[in-house]
């Protein structure tokens, strides 16, 4: 048993944290996160140069990491600065390319940005409800359907698209240039896109792709949950700091027990969140990965919203302003619940597992 990071991962965490604190302060983040292209291309290049993407892929795929804890380290650092860079799409696409045995050079070098398109208007999270259809055209394929809120899709060069082929869920590669892409920004910063497919040419990556999609989603969940832990840590620290500064009734409001206990409860939930991320990261790639990913996403869904709402409430009006960082952390913490399955969706998956056991 060992809860310390390996030296390599600690070094990666230190490097990313230093870079992001210096180069991506929240004021800069807010400048780039809410206007097209909803990220900072030069900072993306710098992140790639620091080895961020290589840390997300295993050696056999050309990377230098790819384990749950590598993913957690990278995304916790990104979460601390609520970085709007499209790293999640790269991670999930890398998992799919690895499952397909496809070359990842363009992805890992940062030359091409990838987004994974599986969500549809009537299938926010459920792979078995996907309606997009693929048809064979000689050696090639064509896709039809609509993919919705594809995170990172506003800047993607390549989409990996989940669609039905002969009744099975398959994964295809679609060049952005061949598709109808409408990009937009999100409430919590960063961007997404609607992807309209109308007989759009595609390359088949994985014919029977449900398991690979599930793995990509599990990895994405570990990433989002670690991102949330980073963002929760910072939000809590800002809040506690504010309790020490802000005076009302002649004393700092941190002297009020009603606020002290709520700040402690936030801390407790953050520690629980950190624990469940460790568990989900440890199980990633194993036979119980989906169960623990669901547990993590459910717990984080609850705790992240608690931290966001309590931080805003305990600050009072100031955290309602665009100017103050907590409003942006709060939005990210609440809205990441809607990515890759929300609190209730993942609770129902844990329930289904219990009923079947």
């Amino acid at each position: 048993m060992d809860f310390n990071l390996t030296e390599d991962r600690q070094m990666l965490a230190d490097t990313l944290n230093r870079f992001l604190t210096e180069q991506y302060p929240v004021e800069h983040r807010n400048k780039v996160a809410y206007d097209a292209p909803y990220h900072d291309p030069s900072k993306w290049d710098a992140l790639v140069e620091l080895g961020t993407l290589f840390a997300l892929a295993p050696e056999e795929a050309g990377g230098m990491g790819g384990a749950g804890f590598d993913i957690a380290v990278v995304f916790e650092a990104l979460g601390r600065q609520i970085t709007p860079e499209p790293v999640l799409g790269a991670l999930m696409a890398s998992r799919l390319l690895a499952a397909a045995g496809a070359d990842q050079e363009a992805l890992l070098s940062g030359a091409s940005k990838y987004a994974v398109a599986f969500t549809e208007l009537d299938a926010a999270y459920e792979l078995d409800q996907i309606a997009a259809q693929a048809t064979a055209k000689g050696d090639a394929y064509a896709l039809s359907g609509r993919k919705s809120t594809v995170y990172g899709g506003q800047v993607a060069d390549v989409f990996l698209v989940a669609a039905k082929l002969n009744g099975k869920l398959a994964v295809f590669q679609v060049n952005a240039a061949d598709a109808n892409v409408t990009g937009y920004g999100m409430m919590d910063g960063a961007g997404a896109a609607e992807l309209l497919l109308d007989d759009t040419p595609a390359t088949l990556l994985i014919e029977d792709g449900a398991a690979a999609m599930e793995d990509a989603i599990n990895a994405g969940i570990v990433a989002l949950c670690a991102e949330a832990v980073g963002a929760m840590d910072v939000t809590h620290a800002i809040t506690v700091d504010y309790l020490k500064q802000r005076k009302q009734f002649g004393i700092t409001i941190g002297k009020f027990q009603v606020l002290q206990h709520r700040a402690v409860d936030m801390l407790t939930e953050i520690e629980q969140s950190r624990s469940i991320v460790i568990k989900a990261a440890a199980e990633l790639g194993g036979p119980d990965a989906s169960r623990y990913a669901s547990m993590a996403k459910n717990l984080i869904g609850r705790s992240a919203r608690l931290i966001a709402e309590e931080a805003i409430q305990m600050h009072g009006g100031i955290a309602m302003t665009w100017e103050y960082p907590v409003s942006h952390y709060g939005k990210r913490l609440v809205m990441l619940d809607a990515q890759l399955g929300d609190t209730d969706y993942h609770l129902s998956r844990v329930m289904a597992g219990n009923a079947a056991a």
């Binding site: 048993m1 402690v264 801390l267 469940i276 568990k279 440890a282 717990l299 129902s348 844990v350 219990n354």
Partner: protein, 395 residues
């Protein structure tokens, strides 16, 4: 990061598991499984069995007769004990007084009392809380006045767990009423057979007799029963409260309770289907199971910290708060799973009474009510939040 036990730890776990399978008497594990109160005889029987193996005082160092285990080994032992439905080891002598005597006691006190704790000669109870001193323990009023070679003690202790069986009580007494609250308290050992002591039972919410009031009227004990320095008892009290308690999260007991709730929910039919398929109830189970899964890791993280840094730190308050809330939720679910079958008074319903469910389930409401205590005792969860406010948030 590595969540798995080492090969040595796994070998140790297997050894504990095999030992429990061979040595835990079935009538004792059955009694634990049925959830009723443990009688004195059964607790003493189990203590004696563990003591023969040298596994009773798991937190004592080897020199005092403990097994010299690491925090992780102690955790494994506790986990296996819960898994096997063995009774909780009584904390008063083993994990409260024992470490205090080892740190603050004289050689004579150690030589006299420690072996008697191990072999069961002395059953200890705790004299801390008073009617006017609960969370604000330092305001305690029980007075000990030195007269020659004796202490004369007057006052009242309360919430004295299993004091009805006790041979001895360790007490916090006020020995300097003029000093600042925390500075005039001493830690004194008192023989329960001393004239002037009266034990009165307190009947608890579920009808059980677990705690007592202890009255002291001109109780005379030798001056040498003082532990540590006069008026330095608060230091001992704090040491005892913050002393490393690997089991404070109660993870093993909650895992046991979760399995029980699931088993009940599989057996009980609601709307003609097993309750575990009812979405509302299944959601409650799943949610607390997720919280418990996280708690397991939180517990191991703090254990790892205790092992690698020597002390667990104030974060153990997090374990107390969250651990008790999870356990209480599970007890609530067990009660709710049974519906009216949880309602009969234990002992008032027998298998012959066909109006209700089997007698074996009747204790579930009692256990639910009894377990409301866990967020109150040992420093209430609100006091734990005060501790975290000071130590972790520095507010």
């Amino acid at each position: 990061m590595d969540l798995s036990y080492s090969a040595e730890d796994i070998a140790f776990r297997d050894e504990v598991r095999a030992y429990l399978a061979d040595n835990l008497p079935k009538h004792i594990s059955d009694a634990v499984r049925e959830g009723g109160e443990m009688g004195k005889a059964m607790i003493e029987e189990w203590h004696a069995i563990l003591n023969r193996k040298g596994w009773l005082a798991t937190i004592w160092p080897k020199e005092f007769g403990g097994p010299g285990w690491t925090p992780v080994q102690r955790h494994i032992f506790e986990e296996e004990c819960c898994r096997a439905y063995s009774p909780r080891i009584l904390p008063f002598g083993i994990s409260m007084l024992g470490p205090v005597l080892q740190k603050f006691g004289t050689k004579e006190q150690q030589d006299h009392y420690l072996p008697r704790i191990l072999d069961g000669t002395d059953w200890w109870c705790q004299g801390y809380s008073e009617p006017g001193a609960g969370s604000d323990l330092a305001s305690l009023k029980t007075r000990a006045v030195r007269e020659g070679d004796e202490w004369v003690i007057n006052g009242q202790k309360t919430w004295t767990t299993l004091g009805q069986h006790a041979d001895w009580i360790f007490c916090l007494c006020r020995t300097d009423p003029d000093a600042k609250q925390q500075q005039g308290i001493s830690f004194i050992l008192v023989d329960m057979k001393t004239p002037g002591i009266e034990v009165r039972p307190i009947k608890l919410i579920e009808g059980g007799h677990e705690v007592n009031e202890v009255f002291f009227t001109d109780v005379r004990v030798p001056y040498g029963n003082l532990v540590g320095e006069e008026n330095k008892g608060w230091t001992i009290a704090k040491y005892l409260l913050t002393h490393e308690r690997t089991g404070i999260a109660g993870v093993g007991f909650s895992m046991q309770a979760l399995e029980e709730v699931k088993a009940l929910a599989r057996k009980t039919l609601r709307n003609g289907k097993p309750l575990i398929e009812d979405p509302l109830f299944a959601a409650r189970i799943a949610q607390v199971e997720i919280d418990l899964e996280a708690m397991k890791i939180t517990n191991l993280r703090m254990l790892f910290k205790a092992q690698s840094q020597g002390a667990p730190g104030p974060e153990t308050s997090i374990l107390k708060i969250k651990g008790t809330v999870i356990h209480q939720e599970l007890k609530d679910l067990a009660r709710r799973a049974l519906g009216p079958a949880a309602a009969p008074f234990p002992g008032h319903v027998t298998d012959g009474n066909l109006m209700f469910g089997p007698a074996a389930t009747a204790h579930n409401a009692a256990r639910y009510f009894n377990n409301r205590k866990t967020s109150i005792f040992g420093g209430s969860n609100e006091i734990q939040r005060n501790i975290l406010t000071k130590t972790m948030l520095e507010l």
